[in-house]
Amino acid sequence: MEWDTILYCGWTSTRRNANDIQRRGWRFLVSPAYERFVAPPYPEFPNGEKSLYMLDNGAWTSFKKGLPFDGDAFRRSVDRWGDRADWVILPDIVAGGVSSMDLSLSYVDELRYLPTLLPVQDGMTPEFVAASLPKSVGGIFVGGSTEWKLKTIPTWCDFARKRNLWCHVGRVNTLNRIKLCVNSGADSIDGTSATIYSVKNPVLAAGLNTKQAQLFYVPPRSDI
């Protein structure tokens, strides 16, 4: 079975961009940083239709601001959005390497009845992750530095496929990287540029739509 890669975009309240995202069938990536901006309770498109979405942990936003991970804000977001989220990304330490795993695993029991993704990043290997991956975790979130990500995306997609896990690649904002993810068999990706630079939308959309129209050759995925 070879499904299309699902695209998530950072939350936007800009009507034009939100309409565009809806028209293309894309979904939202919300995070604790959007707590005050997403109303009513669940993310909606301007026409009132509730959107599909996944919930980020907010670690990236805190990292950019030079702040520590905000566990309280994450828990508030889980309480508000967790039950209908496609996925909830377990907390991680940006640029934390293998020590990030300890933080992620500390939340697994608390979130055991939500669909969670385990972030992987620089320094982690499939063997390392396989050794400690809890059964309640539904997949992996490929984060880390751009260089590391580009080198390891096919490996992680293969790792996930063989274990019947979901593989999501974070922060994919160029057409070439989208192609790499799609051709590697990523189940989903997210990017912010589609919302921040709406002019890029047609380009990014072309990357996905033409995939289905044979521009990209996607090798058949093996049975999982």
């Binding site: 299309d4 699902i6 599909l52 496609d86 009845y113 939500l114 049975d223």
Partner: protein
């Protein structure tokens, strides 16, 4: 041939028929369970399920349960758009399917919840399925919702690519007196 054995909750509708095709394509040992829970379209759905299972050469188990009449009544009212929520329906259906799976030697129960269901139906959300799965594992059975991240439009696209025949499907909450789809309900409004 895979080593997995699957019992599919088959309503005869598009999503469950898609799962039947998917399971067969993946080479799993497959059987189906149709449950009459008093839904208005039970007769049409059962006929669709029987056709689909005959086409695929898989066993079809049938069962019936009685839900609270007041929980079914809205489904028998005038047709129209909007969710038709039957409280606890999937809990009852999954429980019965786990009973059949554990007794007949199937290791997985598949239910056709999709991403389109998540906002309207609490029993189609991941947390609900994960909870049901945790309970079912006591009997050596896993509960899976293999379509839960996918929208109906994704399924339609996949059907086009794979060439699967979906003509046996019957998806309507409120068929007319001749047994034809009403064309108005949420189920009829989905692409097919």
């Amino acid at each position: 041939m895979s080593s997995r054995s699957v019992l599919i909750l088959l309503s005869g509708g598009y999503d469950s028929l898609f799962m039947l095709n998917m399971s067969k394509a993946d080479g799993h040992a497959t059987a189906c369970l149709f449950i009459d829970y008093g839904q208005q379209a039970a007769q049409q759905e059962q006929q669709a399920a029987e056709r689909a299972c005959a086409d695929h050469g898989v066993a079809l188990y049938s069962a019936s349960i009685t839900l609270a009449e007041s929980s079914i009544t809205p489904m028998n009212g005038p047709s129209g758009a909007g969710p038709r929520v039957v409280p606890g329906r999937n809990l009852a259906l999954i429980g019965l399917a786990v009973n059949h799976a554990a007794s007949e030697g199937y290791k997985e129960v598949w239910i056709g919840a999709t991403a389109d269901d998540v906002h309207d139906y609490a029993d189609c959300r991941s947390g609900f399925i994960m909870g049901a799965d945790a309970a079912a594992r006591a009997y050596g059975v896993q509960v899976c919702a293999p379509l839960i991240r996918r929208r109906r439009s994704d399924l339609v696209e996949m059907v086009k690519r794979s060439g699967w025949v979906m003509s046996a499907a019957f998806s309507c909450y409120s068929p007319d007196e001749n047994g034809k789809p009403c064309g108005d309900c949420n189920s009829c409004a989905q692409p097919a």
